[in-house]
Subunit: 320 residues, 2 copies
């Protein structure tokens, strides 16, 4: 199967390395790569660590036309407020009857229902496992393993930066010290407010609600409160009582509608939702038939996000 990558940052390069390592078992080949910064590359033979980039295509549409690929892999940087340009890239791929994998939660958080319909009309597959929890089975957990189950709600501790900042405050450091630690680890962006104000968690909550509960919400519909009001004093006072604030994303059915909420909740420090630290994550699904069941991921990195894309690709290959 021939792939066109849109975006080639850390995840893209990890994904290329993974395909290269498994190419004797899985017949997947990156044939084209497009980045705004480095340019566009075509006619690749797969497994290229440093592809020979030429000038960038005039547009993603032109790139996809030239790529001769069957699957578009969307790995660009998120504009959290709109989900663009990724949504446009995905639409362009569907219009060309290409399957799409995205590791970018923007499209799922902002436009999942219409993208799913466009994929159905184009008779192509659409996968997005890496958009929440870095490639750990979240959407696939429900789709593949919980047949016949209705998801009534979910609860997740899904944001790494907030965990690191709260942990730093627990150790007596300031909020800003915590942000700098998270930035040094490569977890937080230069502007960490996207994480600490709860936008990242809201986007993940909207994505989960849209896919698992057919919610048709966007991050703007999420009742959102970040960790900005927490102080080291308050965090340490809670620690003295064996409590920990955790930025929690919840979705639930309320009067036939799906409500999504992001808030720093004060939990017992032995609550499973409070025990995943650093980049570790946990999500619990509240269901009708299978009770409460979930996925936990311990210290995932960029290789795991790349694996999520890889697992989507295998899934598409099996389905078509």
């Amino acid at each position: 199967m021939k792939l066109a990558l849109i975006g080639y940052g850390n995840v893209g390069r990890a994904f290329a390395r993974l395909l290269d390592a498994r190419r004797s078992t899985f017949p997947f080949r990156i044939v084209a790569i497009h980045t705004a910064r480095h340019g566009s590359a075509y006619g690749l033979r797969g497994g290229v660590p440093a592809p020979p980039f030429g000038p960038p295509a005039d547009s993603v549409e032109e790139f996809l036309d030239q790529s001769r690929a069957e699957v578009a892999v969307e790995l660009t940087t998120l504009n959290p407020a709109t989900g663009e340009p990724a949504i446009g890239h995905i639409r362009a791929a569907f219009a060309r009857r290409m399957h799409v994998i995205t590791a970018n939660k923007g499209p799922i958080a902002h436009a999942f229902a219409s993208l799913r319909e466009e994929a159905e009309r184009a008779l192509v597959e659409f996968r997005y496992e890496s958009t929440v929890m870095d490639g750990a089975p979240v959407f696939n957990m429900v789709r593949n393993n919980l047949p016949g189950v209705r998801v009534l709600g979910f609860t997740g501790a899904l944001n790494s930066t907030s965990k690191l900042v709260i942990d730093a405050m627990r150790r007596g450091l300031s909020f800003d010290d915590g942000v700098r630690e998270a930035q040094k680890m490569g977890v937080a962006e230069a502007d960490a407010s996207y994480d600490t104000d709860g936008w990242d968690s809201a986007a993940k909550g909207a994505a989960l609600a849209n896919v698992l509960m057919d919610a048709r919400v966007t991050p703007l519909d999420v009742e959102r409160r970040g960790i900005g009001r927490l102080t080291p004093e308050r965090v340490r006072e809670l620690a003295g009582n064996r409590k920990r604030p955790v930025l929690i994303t919840r979705g639930r059915l309320s009067g036939g509608k799906v409500k999504v909420r992001v808030r720093a909740e004060v939990l017992d420090e032995t609550d499973p939702l409070a025990t995943v630290q650093g980049t570790s994550n946990i999500i619990l699904f509240h269901t009708d038939l299978m009770g409460t069941v979930g996925t936990v991921s311990i210290e995932p990195g960029v290789e795991q996000t790349a694996y999520g894309v890889f697992s989507d690709l295998i899934d598409i290959a099996k389905t078509i």
Copy 2:
């Protein structure tokens, strides 16, 4: 699809209720039930809360011959030392070209490799999701969601009775008080030593190693130590240091062989493995591509075990 149930205790009845509730969506029908105690019933039309049992069939073989079912569902009580009589029941079903679902871990812990081969030769499906963690996705987590991944090891807190006994000792009660509490909750058997000596955990460890790591071990190969040496004093001393003993099942590769170990490990009480209480369970899979990822199940009951059997059935219906 027509089903023959071997065994009709709590799980069997919960499974019958579940099929009944979903019969408009899923065309599964229990047509025959065999129990040693109540007798055998044939020609059922599905969704029967109290089936009209006649005299028991002379043998499970005879029951299966009379049942006219396509799927045998093995739900008998486990003999943990041998895996019988369930292994014999499953072989009898394979010999009749019936698909098999078992919620009984004995066969998987004692004879998985040969049963898998027999199923392959008979061209039938074999499923066992409910044998570990009461129906939560464990085997399906790996098979369905982690394609191309190699499981290098696993770590699980999988035994409910030991959790309840340790929790009771933490509250100042005796070991025996804890056992009685677990019995009252219906979690422990009259003879709780199967749980507290680590045999239940060893059987689950062998099952996991056999399925996920092709280990070909039995519970007798597991290095096993129970919680019998723990005292309330020791548990409370640990609690003072924010530690908790947890009966942990570990599997790992060592010199090309799979080693399985059961032991009460002393963990920080904020360790994810230490935070699942009561009937809650957690398993972590240590993998090559997806790092450490796992499944958590919060307070499952018999309905969830029944759901695991139901999900196996849907899986078989999809596969054949």
